[in-house]
Amino acid sequence: MDIYREEILDHYKNPRNFGPTSLKASRGERVFKARETNASCGDVMEMAVVLKGGRLSAIKFEGEGCAVSMAAASMLTEKVKGKKVAEAEKMTDDEMIGLLKIEVGPTRRKCATLGLVCLRKALP
C-alpha cells in the first residue's frame, strides 16, 4: 500500500496550514483566494494566500477530498510558504507529484494536483 505511506497519511490526518481561508490583509499585504473543485470526485478546495513583499507570507487551505488531494495540498502549502511568488508560480505538476513520492496513476493525477491548480488560480 505504497500510495498511503506514513507521510501521506500524516498530512491527510493532520493537514498543515489547514483552516478557515478568511485571511485578513494587514498593512503592505494583499490576500488572494481561489476555489477549485474536482467534479468527478466531488472534491472541493479553497485556498488563500497572503502576499507581502512579493512573498507568500501566509497560506491556508480548507476543503474536502481524498487522502491524496488533501495530503498533496498540505505538503504544497508547506513547500511554498515564505517563497517568492515567482517561485511558487513556476512549480509544475510533475514537481508537485514528485513531492508526494508515490506513484500516481492517471486517474489520481487530478487529485494530486488539485491544490496546485487552486494555488495557481489564487496567485495574481
Binding site: M1, D43, A67
Partner: protein, 406 residues
C-alpha cells in the same frame, strides 16, 4: 442455482492477476466481463464473414446481412420485442439520445412536459435537458424517497396532462433499486404520456419483457450484459416509429435520394445510418444466448443471494453506511456505500491493491448524490461469476481500509 465455478472458467479475464492478487471483479454495473463464447463470436465474424451489410449481392455480403438480421431477432426476442422493433445503436446513451431527437423533438410541442427523476443516470437526464432547452419543453424531475427509491407520491403529483413523456430508469446504477415500471406505465397511460425506459441496468440482470411492460421505448447497452462494447439497442413500438424522424442521416437509412432531398427507408433501418457494428451485434447475440442458457430468473436469484450476503457482511464494518434499500426486495446486485472518514477514492485504491475492483465517485448520478448530500460513494456490483468468496475479499479489503485510515 448457478454453477459459479463453471461459469468463472468461461471468462478468460477472471484467471488473471491484478497487483499480484486474484482479480475480484465487482464493477459490473460499469461493464461486465465477456465470456469466451462472445469473444470468439466476434472474432469469428471478422475471420470468416466480414463484409458490409445491406449493400452487396456477393455471397459474403448476403451472408453478413443474414447474420446481422439473425442477431437482431435473437437480441430483440431476449427482451420480449420483435426484430422490427429493435434499432441497434452503440449503447443505452445513444438509444436515449435517439429517442430524444428522433421522436420527442418531432412529437412534443413548446410547453409540453417530460417527467424524469433525480435518480437517473446522466444518460437519461442530459438528453432531456438539452432537448427541453432547444424545444421550449419543461423538464420535471421527481424526487427520491428516504430509502433511496423513487418517491412515488411525488412522481404521481408531477405526472399531469401536460406530461407527454416519462423518462425513467428501470434499475438504479447507484442504489440498485428497481422501479415499478409496469405501474408507472399504467399511470402514464391515464394521462396519455409515452414512456421511455433506461434499461441499461435491468436487461443484464433480470427478465425484462418489452411487450408485457407496454413501454414505448427501452434502451440498453450490450457491454453490461456480457456483450462487446460499442453495441446496444433501443426497442421502439411500431406506432412510435411511425411518428419519428431519422436520427443520424446518410447511407443505409434512405429509400431514394435526389440532389436536394431524400426519402427514408422503412422500418428500423431508417434509424441506422452508416455501416453498423455487425461484429458487435453478433457478439451481443452470443451474449444473449449465453444468458438465455443460464436463465434470467436464475441470474436474478443468484444476485439476490449475493446482495443478501454482502449486506450482512457489510454490516460488520463499523462506520459503513449503505445508500439505498437495505433489503433484497425490489433491488438488483448493486450496493453503494460510504465509510466514515474515508473518501471513496481511497477506499477503491486500497481495494484495488488487493485485487478487488469497485467503482468510486458519483457513478454518473450527480443529482442523486447531491440530493443525498454525498460527494462520492463506493459501489460494488455483482454478476453471474461472483461468489461469496468475492464478497469476503471485499470485506477483507474494507477491513484493511479501516486499518490504513484509522
Amino acid at each position: 442455482m448457478l454453477d459459479v465455478n463453471k461459469i468463472k472458467k468461461d471468462f478468460p479475464i477472471l484467471s488473471r492477476k491484478v497487483n499480484g492478487k486474484r482479480l475480484v471483479y465487482l464493477d459490473n454495473a460499469a461493464t461486465s466481463q465477456k465470456p469466451k463464447a462472445v469473444i470468439e463470436a466476434e472474432v469469428e465474424f471478422y475471420r470468416r464473414h466480414n463484409a458490409n451489410v445491406h449493400r452487396g449481392l456477393h455471397s459474403l455480403s448476403e451472408a453478413a446481412t443474414v447474420i446481422y438480421e439473425e442477431a437482431r431477432k435473437t437480441v430483440a426476442g431476449f427482451i420480449g420485442g420483435e426484430a422490427d422493433e429493435l434499432v441497434f445503436v452503440r449503447n443505452a446513451t445513444e438509444g436515449l439520445n435517439l429517442v430524444a431527437w428522433a421522436w420527442a423533438a418531432a412529437s412534443l410541442k413548446r410547453g409540453d412536459e417530460i417527467l424524469t427523476s433525480v435518480i437517473e443516470h446522466h444518460s437519461n437526464l442530459i438528453p432531456w435537458q438539452r432537448l427541453s432547452r432547444a424545444k421550449g419543453l419543461k423538464l420535471v424531475v421527481a424526487g427520491v424517497a428516504e430509502n433511496g427509491v423513487l418517491d412515488m407520491a411525488d412522481f404521481a403529483n408531477k405526472l399531469t396532462r401536460k406530461t407527454k413523456l416519462v423518462a425513467i430508469g428501470h434499475m438504479s446504477n447507484t442504489t440498485g433499486a428497481i422501479n415499478p415500471v409496469a405501474k408507472i406505465v399504467k399511470m402514464a397511460k391515464r394521462v396519455r404520456a409515452r414512456v421511455a425506459v433506461d434499461a441499461a441496468q435491468s436487461v443484464p440482470h433480470l427478465k425484462v419483457n418489452f411487450k408485457d411492460l407496454g413501454v414505448d421505448f427501452l434502451a440498453f447497452s450490450g457491454h453490461k450484459m456480457l456483450g462487446p462494447m460499442g453495441i446496444g439497442g433501443v426497442l421502439i413500438k411500431k406506432e412510435r416509429q411511425e411518428e419519428m424522424e431519422p436520427f443520424l442521416t446518410g447511407g443505409g437509412m434512405i429509400s431514394e435520394v435526389w440532389p436536394q432531398r431524400a426519402t427514408w427507408a422503412a422500418g428500423v433501418e431508417k434509424f441506422e445510418a452508416g455501416t453498423p457494428n455487425v461484429a458487435g451485434a453478433v457478439g451481443l447475440a452470443a451474449a444473449v444466448e449465453y444468458l438465455t442458457k443460464l436463465g434470467m430468473a436464475r441470474v436474478y436469484e443468484h444476485e439476490k443471494k449475493m446482495v443478501a450476503y454482502a449486506l450482512k457482511r457489510l454490516g460488520e464494518i463499523e462506520g459503513l453506511r449503505v445508500i439505498g434499500p437495505k433489503t433484497t426486495e425490489s433491488r438488483g446486485g448493486v450496493i453503494s456505500f460510504v465509510m466514515e472518514g474515508v473518501h471513496a477514492h481511497d477506499i477503491a485504491q486500497v481495494l484495488s491493491s488487493e485485487g478487488v475492483a469497485v467503482r468510486s465517485g458519483h457513478h454518473c448520478t450527480m443529482p442523486l448524490h447531491k440530493r443525498l448530500k454525498l460527494a462520492a460513494t463506493t459501489r460494488a456490483s455483482f454478476y453471474i461469476y461472483n461468489d461469496k468468496k468475492d464478497v469476503d475479499a471485499l470485506i477483507d479489503g474494507l477491513k484493511k481500509v479501516k486499518n490504513v485510515f484509522t
